[in-house]
């Protein structure tokens, strides 16, 4: 089992400034799943009830000279502590950037290597697996070892792969969030009021969030959003209704779905905004099995989707939800 690659400056920037801060909000540890073509950060795919997040990079988006081999179809997966990974990366960058990154002419002189190693940790007789970063500056070289779990067994990797395949289904209707910052500060304030969030999405492009407890009902409706996938035209009379009535009618007509999720999960999903996506879409999976948020990244300076990066989250639906 071998993995060795060099992080590109773009890759370093993507991870250090954008994805690691975002993924750290999803949960302290995640699976890092490396294949021949992809590096994928996965949260909660094998263990149940948390928010699932999937951040997938084509190897070229992060690495160069990417080499991987394993007896399991060249696939390696392990769990890693994201805050340690982030710290190690930040620390190594202070040395790495002494040379001004790899733009310093002879790039072979100064590269940021990442590899999988087994080492004997201090005060231990058992060798342990590490993800190791290595680079050098003017006067110093630095190695950072990030402890990781034992690589997943063949069957666990298969299970992870099939969970990943299952998690790729897109909802039939997705609506685009108009302003993530606004939504974030709204939900941040809303979460003081209750724990369970009702999310309704219509084919007309309405996103309706509501918290309802015995003491208060608090909601917000965002209308006329961009719809991706199945859409429908709202009846003209709907404009004069209250948000609640409008949503109820849309559900009755089969033009909307509604699920209940944890406010905390919803807030976490918005925090993926730290990865600086260019747009975000919410949708409800078929049969209301989960709430999905898909983030879209553009090729810098264009409006074209950057297919080398993808990020989406799936929010588990609360079981006892559900008059709908």
């Amino acid at each position: 089992m071998k993995f060795k690659a060099f992080l590109t400056d773009h890759g370093v920037n993507l991870l250090e400034k954008r994805f690691l801060p975002a993924l750290d909000k999803m949960g302290k540890t995640c699976h890092l799943y490396l294949t021949r073509d992809h590096a994928i950060f996965l949260h909660n795919l094998l263990n149940g009830d948390g928010i699932q997040s999937i951040a997938q990079f084509q190897k070229e988006a992060l690495f160069e000279d990417y080499r991987i081999s394993s007896q399991n179809d060249d696939r390696i997966a392990f769990t890693i502590d994201l805050s340690l990974l982030h710290r190690a990366l930040r620390s190594i960058l202070t040395i790495y950037t002494e040379f001004g990154g790899s733009h310093s002419g002879d790039s072979a002189l100064n590269r940021l290597q990442i590899k999988l190693v087994k080492k004997l940790p201090p005060h231990s007789s058992q060798p342990m697996p590490f993800l190791t970063f290595e680079t050098k500056g003017y006067k110093s070289a630095v190695i950072q070892d990030v402890p990781i779990s034992k690589p997943l067994s063949r069957s666990d990797v298969l299970e992870l792969q099939s969970a990943l395949d299952m998690a790729q289904d897109l909802p039939q209707t997705l609506v685009q969030v108009p302003d993530m910052n606004q939504l974030q500060s709204f939900v941040d304030r809303m979460k003081h009021v209750g724990d369970v969030l009702n999310v309704s999405i219509t084919k007309y492009g309405d996103l309706h969030l509501q918290i309802s407890t015995s003491l208060i009902t608090l909601g917000a409706e965002f209308r006329k959003l961009k719809v991706v996938g199945e859409q429908a035209r709202a009846s003209p009379g709907d404009d004069n209704l209250t948000a609640q009535t409008r949503t109820r009618r849309a559900i009755d007509k089969g033009n909307a779905m509604s699920v209940q999720v944890s406010v905390k999960h919803f807030f976490k999903s918005i925090q993926c905004h730290l990865a600086k996506p260019d747009c975000a879409f919410y949708g409800i999976a078929q049969q209301g099995s989960c709430l999905t948020v898909v983030f879209q990244f553009f090729v810098p300076g264009t409006r074209q989707t950057d297919k080398s990066i993808s990020l989406h989250c799936r929010l588990p639906v609360l079981v006892d939800s559900g008059t709908n």
Binding site: V193, L215, I216, L218, F222, R223
Partner: protein, 304 residues
């Protein structure tokens, strides 16, 4: 308490406010603990929110009708209802998204006696809330505030200085003696507990700090620290920044009245397209009053 509104078509009150943050600030200043029941009283003059603690501390927030851009009052009598202060403030908070102007409409009562709120400033997005109200408890203690003598005994101090002084008195803790004397005109806060700490405001020495002083006799009373602290602990940062004065008056029997002014002015940067050039909205202020009962302690409290 009015039930007439249920029968008649129009609700007791429909009003609209364009500075929710100002209202949040005003209400937050009387939020001294996590769970507080508040009573809202409606009248043709505006809204009053009243909170109370163990018969020793009462606070009132006056939101006069002038603060509202629309105020349609059609009740007879003065309807009152109870709400959870924390929930009310948390809920109002969701209506003020930074960098986003928010106009909010209040209506009472809703079909089920709720307090209804909704944002009205955008067609494509709308925030709404329904807050369950209760029948209020009768207020357990009458806070009739009467002047101690012929002239009111009072002083006005910069709000930030007052807050700082009260924060500093946390260390001796438990009970604080406030003494006012005419010669030399001064106010003394003295804490005795784990140690002694005395803070003097000398009128002639600190006229920019102590901006007004009225006292024709020596007055001295003790107050529980936690109640004194409640009067400044959640004072909004806007009040500290404006640094207007807070007025403290000692009434008959040593009852202490603390008054703050909270600006509910419309933020000047919002709605540039509506405000015509050079138009300055009239200064809009919410009044906050705290009433603190003195500690009953005959040896140390006296009106001379």
């Amino acid at each position: 308490m009015s039930s007439s509104a249920v029968e008649t078509e129009s609700p007791d009150l429909v009003c609209e406010l364009d500075n929710v943050q100002g209202m949040v600030d005003a209400l937050t200043s009387v939020r001294w603990k996590r769970h507080q029941d508040a009573v809202l009283e409606l009248s043709e003059h505006g809204l009053i929110l009243i909170v109370e603690d163990t018969g020793c501390l009462q606070a009132k927030v006056y939101l006069q009708r002038e603060l509202f851009v629309r105020y349609e009052y059609s009740a007879t009598g003065r309807p009152r209802f109870g709400v959870s202060l924390g929930l009310f403030v948390d809920c109002l908070n969701t209506f003020c998204i930074p960098g986003h102007s928010s106009t909010i409409e209040f209506q009472y009562p809703g079909p089920d006696m709720q307090l209804l709120l909704k944002s009205t400033d955008s067609l494509s997005s709308c925030t709404y809330a329904e807050i369950r109200t209760r029948i209020p408890d009768t207020i357990s203690w009458d806070y009739n505030f009467e002047p101690a003598g012929s002239t009111p005994i009072s002083f006005t101090v910069k709000s930030s200085a007052l807050k700082e002084a009260i924060d500093d008195l946390e260390w001796p803790g438990s009970s604080i003696q406030i003494t006012m004397q005419p010669a030399p005109p001064s106010v003394t806060f003295k804490g005795e507990g784990h140690g002694d700490l005395q803070i003097d405001f000398m009128y002639y020495a600190n006229m920019d700090l102590l901006t007004a002083f009225n006292c024709d006799q020596v007055v001295s009373h003790r107050y529980k620290y936690k109640f004194l602290r409640a009067t400044t602990s959640n004072i909004p940062s806007s009040v500290i920044k404006d640094n207007r004065g807070s007025k403290l008056t000692i009434g008959r029997g040593g009852m202490l009245k603390v008054q703050h002014l909270v600006s509910v002015a419309k933020p000047s940067h919002s709605h540039p397209h509506v405000d015509s050039v050079g138009y300055q909205p009239p200064s809009r202020i919410a009044y906050i009053e705290f009433f603190v009962k003195p500690q009953v302690d005959e040896e140390n409290a006296y009106d001379s």
